[in-house]
């Protein structure tokens, strides 16, 4: 019995230390496959989540905030532009929120005050990005202002329609973000050069 318990304890400790919790996202996304082997950066990222039904969500520094605490700063910056003051508690709540956000800025106070997971999910309607009220562009602007080293990462479902991606790319391009990464799952591919020679 004792050796078994010992092994269990070791496995348990190992798993606890290496665990990076898979965070629940506001939309389920099946990433497409590619041969790229570059791992996703941990810090200095803004992730755009494109759901299959065409909504766009945004996340900064996936998961927990880093020591520099960019998230509340981005929120304050965003608030300034829309004339909204955020309290300490709301900033903390925004900092803690682990997954991507797609709440229009006017509802964000309500969203942060609400503790109910289901009600929150219902408020996630995607970021508005039409030309009259382009909040996605504002978020990008604020994020880049707070953290100039931020990298754009796009996570989309393989069923997401291309015009959604196109719109996000256009906004990024307008804001002078030209380099970005697409999140994919790894898959092997082989090429047969001999066949071509013939």
């Amino acid at each position: 019995m004792t050796p078994m318990v010992d092994t269990f304890a070791v496995i348990l400790i190992f798993l606890m230390l290496t665990a990076t919790m898979s965070q629940p996202e506001p939309a389920t996304v099946d990433t497409p496959f590619s041969i790229s082997e570059k791992p996703t950066p941990d810090f200095n990222t803004m992730t755009f989540l494109l759901s299959p039904d065409g909504k766009v969500f945004m996340n900064f520094d996936n998961g927990p905030d880093t020591l520099l605490k960019y998230r509340p700063k981005i929120l304050i910056e965003m608030g300034k532009r829309y004339g909204i003051e955020f309290t300490e508690a709301e900033q903390r709540e925004f900092e803690k929120y682990p997954s991507a956000m797609g709440v229009p800025i006017m509802q964000i106070k309500e969203f942060l005050a609400n503790r109910d997971g289901n009600a929150r999910k219902e408020m996630q309607v995607g970021l508005p990005m039409d030309s009259a009220d382009n909040q996605l562009a504002m978020w990008i602007l604020c994020a880049r202002q707070v953290n100039p080293n931020i990298q754009a990462v796009i996570k989309g479902d393989s069923k997401t329609k291309f015009p959604v991606l196109k719109k996000v790319l256009d906004i990024l391009q307008e804001k002078n973000v030209k380099r970005f990464s697409l999140i994919t799952s790894l898959e092997a591919a082989k090429i047969n050069l001999e066949e071509i020679q013939q």
Partner: protein, 220 residues
């Protein structure tokens, strides 16, 4: 298991505390541990997702500025069509002759489809990269892992034989198609490719190709 044995003085020092091995029932603990292990194993995402880098060209903000000219003979246009179809045509089409548009060739995302086409056109460069990789693996060239990517990038930069691929997406294409085609560019070692906006005459060409093909039961 710490036991304090207080030797009582005076009352005959021969009396010793009886050592009984303490027995603990470990079953509940093991149960709990199993539960925790299962929980952690299920919630941990071990493999980190990968990323693919792409760079977009500058947007033309100045109306007097012209798009960079590229030679038509090396140009290959790939159009991502609806229902996971893929169309392509070589060279360039002028918007003036919209009455006389060239037909689109249809292909697919398989190894025999687009990959073969791209390799055929990119064979000089693809072979160069392949030879280089082989020499690195067999140890003829010693190079650090970091500069390997740089060396391949250099091979791509000096190449002037491969095609210039313009990737255009029809409005009914999806994100998976886009990633697939970019992936195909990396697999085939295409040096020059860029996603560009689809032109109105190209949309027309796709629609012609769509109606020419036997109409399938689609929801569109």
């Amino acid at each position: 298991m710490a036991e304090i044995i207080q030797a009582e003085k005076g009352k005959g020092g021969k009396k010793r505390a009886k050592k009984i091995l303490p027995h603990m029932d470990m079953t509940p603990m093991v149960d709990l541990m199993m539960l925790l292990i299962t929980f952690f194993m299920l919630t941990t995402s071990m493999s980190k997702p990968k990323v693919m880098d792409i760079t977009l060209p500058d947007k033309l903000t100045d109306p007097n500025q012209e798009a960079p000219k590229i030679s038509a003979s090396r140009t290959l246009n790939i159009i991502l069509g609806p229902e996971n179809k893929l169309y392509w045509y070589p060279g360039a089409v002028k918007p003036e002759d919209f009455n006389n548009l060239p037909p689109l060739m249809e292909t697919d995302y398989s190894a025999d489809g687009i990959r073969k086409l791209l390799l055929e056109r990119n064979k000089t460069l693809a072979r160069k990269i392949d030879d280089f990789n082989k020499e690195v693996i067999s140890g003829k060239i010693e190079i650090s892992q970091d500069s390997l990517q740089g060396a391949i990038r250099h091979l791509k930069n000096v190449d002037d034989t491969g095609p210039i691929v313009l990737i255009k997406a029809y409005k009914e294409a999806n994100y998976g198609n886009f990633v697939d085609i970019l992936d195909e560019m990396n697999i085939c070692g295409i040096a020059r490719f860029t996603p560009v906006d689809i032109a109105w005459y190209e949309e027309k060409m796709v629609e012609t190709a769509k109606s020419a093909a036997p109409v399938s039961t689609s929801s569109n």
